[in-house]
Symmetry: C2
Subunit: 401 residues, 2 copies
């Protein structure tokens, strides 16, 4: 019954949103971008994430921390204490994770609307999914047009295992979805500052109802209750969708006829040419695209055998494969995917064994998704610098001696 | 070349080791065993594992900590801070993980023996495997014959993702394995107390060379460098083999013609009838057997919908399926396996949705491996209380109100 009202799955190729915009000057592969050169001196971890691995994180602000490219390792899982953090407004008080099962979620747009406590939601079903979580602006630091927002490089992304109740099971338990609903709209439990119009700051996002197939209300991440920083006690998880849509501290879940009218949806997270204002007619940062980056070696390596590795994912569809170039894209070799396949929404570690003589190498990776979409060489700029997946900007220069 | 000298893979059915021993009285399902009743008051975490999640652990001694049955969650991964710890002798000083890449491993039984640093080993290959890590004595607390050793219940086990270099790649890099080698023998880097015959305490274990197919020298666990407590900077990982064989702080790896003669191999970890001494002729605790246990609900539940879940694994082979009983084994229903299949050596979360009326239920799970081996109802005692996988003792009594 729930499945009958799906609308066609829409995935926007972000590049299409900036048609007609002059391509940015090709960046010099491996050269530090302005953002890299400006990497701030280490700031202390904010109190609510004091348990993070400080050595692994770049602290941009108290609400924005990214994983260092050197700290992704070789394993498909990103530990929670190395996972990036991006909060649009400060998280709620941590008292909300003291009694997790007592947290209430309100449901609307179902035949029997009402509220349910987390403790009861947990008994309605169980699912587990490994998925890439990635900020819309990951890679912003590789653009040269000085977009506003954190200058993320590669580290506003991670691959984690969520578990919780399938959203479809919750909807069924509440009598099924009401007629005519085309969107899933999640509302976060952040406290809205007084004197501010809530619509200008609240975290409320809508995605096409097709996302219901894989959506879950997640209580656990990587085998533990979700921390406050990552959305505990309950987070709306939409595998394949950019981070912003995965609403933390979920306090309301509505099946709606239209997208929410809050700022973050109407004009925020919209892809448009540089200089334009956001508008509902522009593509929203919903489904992710194919992407990869090398994580080793990054700067220097000894001559002889070396394992060139990194991470790759298909975005909203499965990963087909990854190629690696050690000559800046002149030639490519297929890399090997290692470790268990955690499913279509997860990333995989890729590796290419090489034997490098002394010299300088520009190492790049290029992933292709199941439908055959490959990372482009260049990625044109867009006003807010979203969705960069161009392989050339993500390449690294490595000196072998 | 390396593969030519494999000997047939041997897997001992542990029960066979105790033939002729009178079966223990059937335990009362769900009733607390002596061990459970004696669960000690919470001891503080030892300093070297002060980073563990204290609420999730039962501290038996400074070298033996298990995960509480209440803390496995619904996710297939056991976080490192909830993973059981079992050290035979105290771990080395943590200075050995300060410069991980500098740690040296000695290799013998290859055509070009020598030492290699971790930094160089990492460049020889890359593999990742999810695997159950389980102490030989997990379940000892369910036996009634008062065997010596920690009274582990279900928590001396976890499921983790390792990554590192395939041992076969290392052997190839060192000229291949010397002729006539039938065992992989790993030696740990623990400091041997002065005045003690090293052979009586050192951690050195041999396994059949058939284990080479899946063996790795692991540097990472769950996406991070392996902690000292779990064997960093490098651990020999033998997927499908009991924990003891997965030698921590690996300082020597030898391909040998015979099993090592140290006590832990000759007479330790041998399965024999109660009252008998250990001897090399008895089965060694090598490959694991099929096993499962429920982790929710454990004692009480509200009436109405409930998700009965737990973990299950095939041991040294893949898991085929799991059945759940809510009436103490009178009737069984197939459970659903949830989440990504992490490979044959990993465990999976199983779930059976039920709708329970007030009353008392004895909930049991029974896993079957790919070859059709199922958990037995009863598991006969053996001197050291190894390898318990009987489903009745692992059942729980749950009161629904």
């Amino acid at each position: 019954m729930i499945r009958q009202i799906e609308i066609p799955r829409r995935r926007f190729l972000i590049a299409a949103g900036s048609t007609g915009v002059a391509a940015a000057l090709p960046p010099i592969a491996g050269a530090p971008s302005q953002a890299q050169a400006q990497t701030p001196a280490a700031k202390p971890l904010p109190a609510y994430v004091s348990w993070k691995d400080a050595d692994a994180m770049i602290v941009h602000t108290s609400n924005t921390l990214e994983t260092k490219r050197t700290h992704f390792g070789t394993n498909p899982i990103t530990p929670e204490d190395r996972l990036y953090v991006r909060n649009n407004i400060p998280p709620p008080n941590d008292s909300i994770v003291a009694d997790r099962d007592a947290w209430e979620v309100e449901f609307e747009g179902v035949r029997k609307p009402g509220t349910m406590k987390v403790g009861a939601l947990k008994e309605l079903g169980l699912t587990t999914v490994a998925a890439v979580l990635q900020c819309s602006g990951n890679g912003r630091g590789f653009f040269s047009h000085k977009a506003s927002g954190s200058p993320w490089l590669v580290g506003a992304a991670g691959n984690v295992i969520w578990s919780g109740v399938p959203l479809s099971a919750v909807a069924e338990a509440m009598g099924g979805i009401a007629d005519g609903r085309k969107f899933i709209t999640g509302t976060g439990g952040e406290e809205i500052p007084k004197g501010v119009d809530p619509k200008t700051v609240m975290v409320e996002r809508s995605v096409p109802i097709a996302a219901l197939d894989d959506a879950l209300l997640a209580f656990e991440i990587n085998g533990k209750p979700i921390s406050l920083a990552h959305g505990g006690p309950v987070r709306l998880v939409l595998p394949g969708y950019y981070g912003i849509n995965n609403v933390k501290y979920l306090k309301k879940l509505a099946f709606t006829e239209a997208e929410t009218s809050v700022k973050i949806q109407r004009t925020g997270y919209r892809v448009r040419p540089v200089g334009q204002k956001g508008a509902p007619s522009q593509p929203s940062m919903w489904e992710m695209t194919v992407k990869s980056w090398v994580t080793h070696p990054l700067k220097a390596s000894n001559d002889g055998p070396v394992q060139i590795y990194g991470v790759a994912f298909g975005g909203a569809e499965a990963l087909k494969g990854v190629e690696v170039s050690i000559d800046g894209g002149k030639s490519w070799k297929p890399a090997k995917l290692v470790g268990p396949d955690l499913g279509k929404f997860a990333w995989r570690t890729f590796v290419l064994a090489a034997n490098l003589k002394p010299g300088t190498y520009t190492i790049a990776s290029r992933a292709t998704s199941a439908s055959g979409e490959a990372q482009p060489e260049e990625f044109p700029p867009n006003e807010r610098a979203y969705g960069h997946n161009g392989w050339r900007a993500h390449a690294v220069d490595v000196t072998v001696s």
